[in-house]
Amino acid sequence: MSLHLPVLLIVLLLGASYGVPLLDRYRKNLAFPLTITSLAAVFVFSLYLIFLVGRKGPFFYHLGGWPPPWGIELYVDFLAVYMLMVLSTIGLLVMIYGATDLYHELKEEVLSWYYTLYLLLIGSMIGIALTNDLFNMFVFIEISTIASCGIISIKADRRCLEASIKYLILSALGSGCILLAVAMIYMITGNLNFDYIAAELPGALALYPYNILIALSLFIVGFGVKSALFPLHVWLPDAHSSAPSPSSAVLSGLVIKIYAIALVKLLWRVFPPQIYAAVPVLDIILFLSVLAVLVGSIFAMVQDDIKRMLAYSSIAQIGYVFMGIGLFGSRALSGGLLHIFNHAMMKSMLFMAAGLIIYATGIRNIRDLKGIGVRMPWTMGAFTVGAFSMVGIPGTSGFISKWYLALGALDLGRPFYVAVILLSSLLNGIYYFPIVIDAFFGTKVEPRSEHRDVPALMLVPVLILAAGVIFFGFFPGPLLNLIEKALAF
């Protein structure tokens, strides 16, 4: 059983995603329980996998018993289980929240299709995290792209469709780049397995320098589009703001991160380090990340729509992750990876909190949110925690990832990037704090005046994540332990 656990995770989710529409036909009321059960099972299994990997160390899994050059290989290492934990935890919590919210936001007949897409999305992301095979990765990337396109457009109003078409076109471009790069790598090395490619590439570098370079740049552009790295981010604000709130939470919290992880895997494990000395690839990533961090925040400042503001803030935050990648020191990269988890917590919480506000009052405009904190103290309390964490107030998890990134930058003798991190924190403060202030102070609002009550089931995931943000602000030890091991391959 534990032998087949890695593939079971993916099969379970993909299988359930096919089961849901079937159930929808015959036993409508069982569609949601199936979804949540499979997500919960995946959550439990991933915890077990973390335990397993912690005890016995990383291990390979050969699909169908075919060894690598022919078969597909999954590699369960610390990085993979780290991502598994992030994906399964946030995926489960968002679905618990979505249970009620989706009834409100979607038409009843598309509800089970949403579950299908959601399960596909989580399943394919777990696939990306686990796979050790280039083409297999591409397949999962395609599945997740189509699935995310689906959960954006499912509301089927004008804005969603427009946003999803924009997303579809741009990410098809990204997929094209990735496919081309995969083809080039295959052409050069004749292999698709990461380890085999990594063994071949240093030798091939002398023979085909341009092909490898082009493959590398195609990967960076492809993953850059998909994870909304700065000049390629244009699809994100529309897509993340118009989608239903659970979709926004998952898209901003998880989907853009998984592509960054895929890039980390390629850069760190597949491409030979000599290439970074020859070509300033990392400096380009670094430069773009600095722009992302600053420009994302500046755009966020001028937004009126709260979800749009959060979406722009995601662009800035993904910039931190890429800054960690671009600095490429072990401490900086730990900071970047840690920020993946921290931002997944914060941003999905913030999106869910924004969704709660929209659910309860229908307000989306930031200026109309005055006094909302008096009416919805728990929701805005969680929002406040998220805002603090975004700014990097000590005692929240956002502080720890900033601390690591800054320390990593200093390790490499680049205090400039510390200044960038601080400046962006200030910018975060400038657009997050007024929302919090207006929500709690300045207007006299009667508590509980006309608005829909917030169901406890929607509030609980938000509060769990808020508690998580504070908990990991004080005890980041276990996470950092995992990340340090992940980077020690």
């Binding site: 603090f388 700014v391 990097g392 107030i393 000590p394 005692g395 720890i400 900033k402 601390w403 800054a406 320390l407 200093l410 390790d411 205090p415 510390v418 200044a419 601080l422 924190s425 200030l426 403060g429 400038i430 704090f433 007024p434 202030i437 102070f441 300045g442 004080f474 005890f475 980041p476 030890g477 950092l480």
Partner: protein, 496 residues
């Protein structure tokens, strides 16, 4: 001397108010009386538990231990030495008196249910700053206090309060980020940020200078140092008067405390002297002193004038640091005591006047001394102490500071102190004269009735006012003894 002892009083003193603030919040919804009682009780217990550390501290021991680690080499640690004790003692003492004062003052205001829990929570986080064992812990509590006290600043929720609060918040974030930068630089250079390690940075390199500068920005922001003082004159007057008293009297001192720690723990006297950074401090101090006092003259809102006066007074404290000798440091620490007492007296007295009469403009205060003799009596004592009239505590701190300046061979600083005293006189004396001798001549004597604020407000004001006299009258008082000990401790520290 420096022994590691496990004494849980510091944790108790920090955590008890934090914990009680939750209980006060819960009871506040049920009973106002219980809420007020609990707040005062919490403040009293906290003061007593700080005071209970006296025997340990005075015997020269230092309470040091680690609570838990957050990151390798970085954790929540506790360290109480004589300087921490000085600050913690005066803070919790003033806090206790202000909590009594707040009961009646806040009965006229809205949102007491918000005020009291925040008020008590801020006490805990302020004590946390003073008892932190490393800069990281200090930073956590510093940010906590700064952010929480935002709620005190904007309590009135008027337009101008919100605007002042926003300015305060943005400046706080900037200061916090500067501190973050400084602390991370120190961590990178020294590998630790503990206060227990002797000198952390011994070579005045470029990065070290950057660290010094950002520390100065971070802590100087809080201390109202020129040119980062801009939030102070807006934020302090708009808060409710008891909160202004704490903001000006105590919370400004957290910045001064941080700077003292930076000068004596991150760097040391010889490094600062070698790099000539004391010159930066000196210039800033002189500008801060003169600017604060000069602008105060042009203010006609009573609380605003007091706020500008705070800037000037914080300049003295920065000056004491810039002189870098033991005698100046005695005056420095003693001035922290003095200013805490003087400024809270003044703000509380101003609050009593506002509470009773609603008057804020100085020109309207004619004859107020006849109506409220006790309040204005305390105000007069504190104002005279501010000017530096001999038997009051302000005189003693100025005297010691001047001796320090002469020791340092910088008599021009004495001139600055004298000029500033003159300026202080220019803006405090007219208030006092008008209060007691002004007033409408045609009024009959019978019409002027003594009409004081409630006794729960006058008693704290009177105690603090008498404190101004008592700490000046006897040069061997406890505050001065503590300052002497603190200064000799900071200078006599064994530097490994």
């Amino acid at each position: 001397m420096e022994t590691v002892i496990y004494n849980f009083l510091p944790i108790w003193a920090v955590m008890f108010p934090v914990f009680m603030s939750v209980i006060i919040f819960i009871t506040g919804n049920r009973s106002e009386k219980l809420r007020n009682g609990l707040s005062v009780a919490t403040a009293v217990v906290t003061f007593l538990s700080v005071a209970a550390m006296y025997p340990v501290i005075i015997s020269g021991e230092i309470i040091v231990f680690t609570l838990f680690d957050i990151l390798p080499g970085l954790g929540i640690t506790v360290r109480v030495d004589i300087l921490s004790f000085c600050l913690a003692a005066i803070s919790s003492f003033v806090w206790m008196l202000v909590s009594v004062y707040s009961i009646d003052y806040m009965s006229h205001e809205h949102g007491g249910n918000r005020y009291f829990p925040i008020f008590i929570f801020t006490l805990g986080s302020t004590l946390g700053i003073f008892m932190a064992g490393d800069f990281f812990t200090l930073f956590i509590f510093f940010e906590l206090m700064s952010l929480i006290s935002y709620v005190l600043v904007i309590h009135e929720e008027t337009r101008e309060a919100l605007r002042a609060g926003y300015k305060y918040l943005i400046m706080t974030i900037i200061g916090g980020l500067a501190l973050f930068f400084a602390i991370i630089l120190t961590f990178e250079l020294a590998g630790t940020v503990s206060l227990n390690e002797g000198t952390l940075i011994t070579v005045p390199s470029t990065l070290a200078f950057l660290a010094f500068l950002t520390f100065l920005i971070g802590f100087g922001m809080k201390a109202g140092m020129f040119p980062l003082h801009v939030w102070l004159p807006d934020a302090h007057p708009v808060a409710p008067s008891p909160a202004s008293a704490l903001l000006s009297g105590i919370m400004l001192k957290t910045g001064a405390y941080g700077l003292l720690r930076v000068i004596f723990h991150v760097f040391n006297v010889s490094v600062i002297k070698e790099a000539r950074w004391d010159l930066i401090l000196g210039v800033i101090a002189v500008i801060t002193i003169l600017l604060g006092s000069a602008v105060a003259i042009t203010q006609f809102d009573l609380k605003r004038r007091l706020a500008y006066s705070s800037i000037g007074q914080m300049g003295y404290i920065i000056l004491g640091m810039a002189l870098l000798n033991e005698k100046a440091l005695v005056g420095d620490v003693f001035h922290i005591f003095s200013h805490a007492i003087m400024k809270s007296t003044l703000f509380l007295a101003a609050g009593a006047i506002i509470w009773k009469t609603g008057l804020r403009n100085i020109n309207d205060l004619h004859g107020i001394g006849k109506k409220m003799p006790v309040t204005m009596g305390a105000f007069t004592l504190a104002a005279l102490a501010m000017i530096g009239i001999p038997p009051l505590n302000g005189f003693l701190s100025k005297w010691t500071l001047s001796l320090g300046a002469l020791d340092a061979g910088a008599p021009y600083y004495v001139v600055v102190l004298l000029v500033s005293s003159l300026l202080n006189g220019l803006y405090y004396l007219p208030i006092i004269i008008a209060a007691f001798f002004g007033g409408e001549e045609h009024d009959e004597e019978a019409k002027i009735k003594v009409n004081e604020a409630s006794y729960r407000m006058i008693i704290p004001v009177a105690i603090l006012g008498i404190g101004c006299l008592a700490f000046g009258l006897m040069p061997n008082n406890i505050a001065f003894e503590l300052s002497l000990k603190a200064a000799s401790f900071l200078f006599g520290r064994v530097i490994p």
